[in-house]
Symmetry: D2
Subunit: 370 residues, 4 copies
């Protein structure tokens, strides 16, 4: 259980790190959507290993194929299944882990839960599974693009190196111009050097991915348990290595007074004009009030811990309960955030596509364009 | 949609702030659980308004009744429905809001989504809805108590007043001895004074609730999308006014190296002894690895923004798009965290009860005691 | 589990036969629907006990109240909860059943499954639970009425007394003019006499309810597992005492050749006219092809077994495994079909309302009116 | 939507008749189950086309591959994905159908619902999709075999040729010895001849598949909406060409008195013996009371209409609304029931595996073996 996400735009992913393939089935993508396969491949390429020397050296083309659900380039309303084969799995690198638990990995908990585990490359708990999410998220993005909704994530912190500026002062398009995916080129260079140094030390380091969503009309999100930000939180916390989530004012909002924090409404209508849009003067709400989008920008931050795989010896126990030393082998990212950027975007796209569809049944007589 | 939570231990809440009643239906509570009604009432009393002068002065006995699912004091495996009547709703305090949107409330977004809204006391978006969660959470707690799982939340921050000590250095039982629910009595006094002063200024302030869960065996939580911490995040973010969630090392973990952050495994077994328990030397993982509990303490923090209702004039717009001044009326909490403590515990209990049940089908031949 | 029905228009019922009340929560009814409470009460009255001497003599006003989800007569998109109190429960009539299993009742299976049971009046397994379905179904009917969809059920068989004519040859409005709810008045009289005689013998008898749905546009129903007729089957089989379901040609279709059975398409357009509707010359498909409505009438038949409660002594065992004689006490219907008519309609309405909403997200750019 | 089935043992199928492959993902199969791949292949072979001259001549090896979820021959608790490639799709046979609607097929309804359709071989609505169900059902059967539950379906009627004997008088093992899958060899021959003659006439004919499930302990099935027989009905009605479902006494039960129909309980215990099993003297209940298994045999019947594809000219309309003649081309089964036998079994296995798991959380302290 737990391998599906979404209510109406629903995905189910499958596959282990060293199995034959990783894949996804999307059930609920509306019919009639043009499937831009080149776009999907570009999204996968953004997540692909081996992009620079600060990412894992596993070599995977990550070329996807669509097995169903698309006919003559158009979605059919039937399940869309996509497959990405595993090509460069080096399972023997993991043979020594068959009976050892790597610290802060899922080895021990999987073994306890299931009484068995595929220890090769982390099996199902490997971040390799996220390739399926990026493929599905790309389809969600195509749907959202048709609605003029854009999603942009970027690295805002690595270790203690932190971007001081909030997103409106940044040129987010710059994020894709460097290996770190930080929109401030000078900071990107410092982050790169720091990650590279950490890598050489056989160590790893954490980071923060920030994300901005623009163009969402008022009304997306469901009250009470399925608030828009609650689903975003769940979706982000489901990404490997994530430890925290905040949106709008976030943890900093705790220290504000209500009189500072409240976002005053105003209208951009001229006097006598009925067609004005309701806006807010500030946006501490992060574009969401009562769990429902209010038409302002949605933005949030996602905290990633340092990757658990180290090129160092570590104390641990075996599955027989004996003390062992786990040695550092295998390939890994010293810092996960550069490659996490497209994953954060993909999960955000899946959340939004789902809420877009859910909102279509919110009221009697709601036309599609609303 | 969005008014249900849980997969196997599933609740559906209903009711508006000024409607006849707020209630909940639990579908999936196992049969054979002794229903301690006095305990449930005590939990409701912890959330009740009017506990001190720093909470809202609305007078509600919050006396619940069970309508179904319990026979001769024992759950029957059938839906348990519980009802709490609304007694002290003063709807006329809200008449002026029929056509105005309160800043940072859900008035505007509900109107946009549904084309209609119950403006009295916030309607469905009111935190009054959480009384239903506390009632259901109390039932979940009864189930968890039978498994020796304990859940304890407390206030760790109000505005800039922050508890410096981590939970192992605190006597959490102290939290219930003061109106703020902060386990450090000296800090509790300072927080109380600060909230009270804020209240007198007609303003509001935010805070943080921390929560510790002890006694969860390894194996609870589902991989990939329904990770234990992902569901905790969703459940917490679904509470009114929550802006952020972190577990274990959280956002602070970002700044650590992997070599500091990793939790080394060891066993408390003596040499030759097979029965040792696997433990970790540190617990930056917050008791969860790969989305599954590892047997260590689970702990997390929840950020609450300042309450949106102020006793002040605020700029806004009407539902006709005209500029208006919203005046401060009605009753409210100047700081939500003292009463949020039992709500955080209730939602945590609902998450855990659900994962307990889900884990019972994880593997062939898994006996109930595992 | 198992007490909820529907994907988007989702109901959860609760309550036992002799508990305080029976009720339902609807989550997913669109906002903006005018709530005609008098209509809902009329639907409940059709199901109410004590309508004639061939129905149970339990006296229940079955007056419902709405606790939430409706404001100023209009649905708000929030959960609609409705409650019907139990007034005439005579629990002492059932005291002798605390340790006996009535033949062909759910006493034994509930005890085996849950290890406990509310034996008073059948507890949760009582057909009293269907009052909640009729209330929810009435709301679904209001939604469908706004879309010009009509649902009409009637009694077509009691024991061996069987209406020979198919529905197009009947005046279905006649069904509500007699206590049996058979649209052929002469047959209705014979059925009434037969049921009454059966009742006097302390016995019970089965019957068939037929149902016709008109006005459903093409496109409702989902492929593969959630076919329109598959959900209708599930919904009908979930009604107490139902043993079989067939739609369109049903079991009789088995004996036909494909060349007889196939429904030829034609169009009622005139030459050169593009706006014609596609129709079928026959309707063995029962208005559904590939699980999706094709615009023709949907019709189906539901088989009800004789009620298990008899006014006679019956052989059985106790919960200690000893042979006992169960004596006939309590109040019951000698034939369930007259009161099952509104229940069949209610369940059909719930299925259709759900598929109406589900179809709104089937394709990109689908306007609400389609 | 609608391409998934099951609550805990949940499958999602994908693939079109002439796409690259048909496949399934199982999420929720417990870990630790030995995966007998040869058994799965045998089940697929039973459904395979081209078994005799009375089945379609499409040539498909239907060799499956497992892509995930199994490691060293054992299920891991992670999603099991299985793929069956399409090898002998002759799409050009269907080119003439790009703009025509075949009578009693899903062509018209898919076009209306989705605004597009894959017309090649029926696309997603083709019975080819059921290969995925048989693969998943085989895994469910492996789980059930470990619990000593057996499922056996057979052909009991073809056109007007009907087996007179109820299942206890038949040797069900005989069913697999002939091409029709009828356990009475003499009747099987007559059926074969009749189907063959129908085929030569370019026509098709319907049939009935009966199914018997043995070894289910008391307690499987959920009350109210998810009754065991309600889910069986939904699962069977979701199979292509099914028009009706009945269990136990079924439609014939309508004509019985309660005094005949009720199944008297008795115990096979000897006097003074506590360990006796509770049994029923008759089994009109079909092994299910109140939606929950009572330990007796479960049996039901499924009605299949004649296949819609004929080798004859038929009247229809084009997607432009013009009258056309659809000519008979392509390959098809003249009677679907022989190959439907393993599909009925597969769907029954999926229902039962799901209820087995759901029952494990029905009560506090329920051990796995119960």
């Amino acid at each position: 259980m737990g391998n599906s996400y979404g209510t109406l735009f629903r995905i189910s992913t499958f596959g282990e790190s060293h199995g034959k393939a990783v894949g996804v089935v999307i059930d609920g993508c509306p019919a009639g959507l043009a499937m831009d396969e080149a776009f999907i491949q570009r999204e996968l390429d953004r997540r692909k290993p081996g992009q620079s020397r600060i990412t894992t050296q596993r070599k995977e083309a990550d070329t996807f194929q669509i097995l169903s659900g698309v006919f003559e380039g158009v979605t059919q309303g039937t399940p869309i299944s996509m497959l990405v084969p595993n090509e460069d799995a080096r399972s023997k690198d993991y043979a020594h882990l068959a009976h050892q638990y790597r610290p802060s990995h899922a080895d021990y908990t999987y073994q306890q839960k299931y009484g068995t585990r595929d220890y090769r490359g982390g099996g199902r708990s490997s971040a390799r599974e996220t390739v399926a999410r990026v493929a599905a998220g790309a389809v969600a993005k195509l749907l959202l693009q048709s609605l003029s909704v854009s999603i942009r994530a970027y690295v805002s912190q690595v270790g203690k190196l932190k971007l001081a500026m909030p997103y409106p002062e940044l040129d987010l398009a710059q994020a894709e111009t460097n290996a770190v995916r930080c929109p401030d080129p000078a900071m990107a260079e410092r982050m790169f050097a720091f990650i590279d140094e950490t890598r050489k030390n056989g160590d790893s380091v954490g980071g923060v991915v920030s994300c901005v969503i623009q163009g969402v009309p008022p009304g997306w999100g469901e009250p009470v348990f399925d608030k828009l930000h609650a689903e975003l939180a769940k979706a982000m916390m489901g990404i490997n290595a994530v430890k925290g989530f905040e949106y709008g004012s976030g943890f900093a909002g705790v220290e504000m007074y209500g009189s500072e924090h409240n976002d005053a409404f105003y209208t951009d209508a001229k006097p006598g004009d009925n067609g004005g849009r309701v806006k807010t003067r500030t946006n501490h709400s992060g574009g969401i009030q009562g769990g429902i989008s209010n038409g302002e920008d949605i933005y949030f931050r996602v905290a990633f811990k340092p990757v658990a795989t180290l090129m160092r010896d570590q104390e641990s126990v075996s599955d027989e309960g004996e003390s062992v030393t786990v040695t550092g082998k295998g390939r890994h990212d010293p810092c996960v955030v550069p490659r996490a950027v497209p994953i954060v975007e993909a999960m955000a796209a899946l959340v939004l596509a789902d809420f877009y569809l859910r909102n279509k049944v919110a009221r009697v007589g709601l036309a599609d364009s609303e």
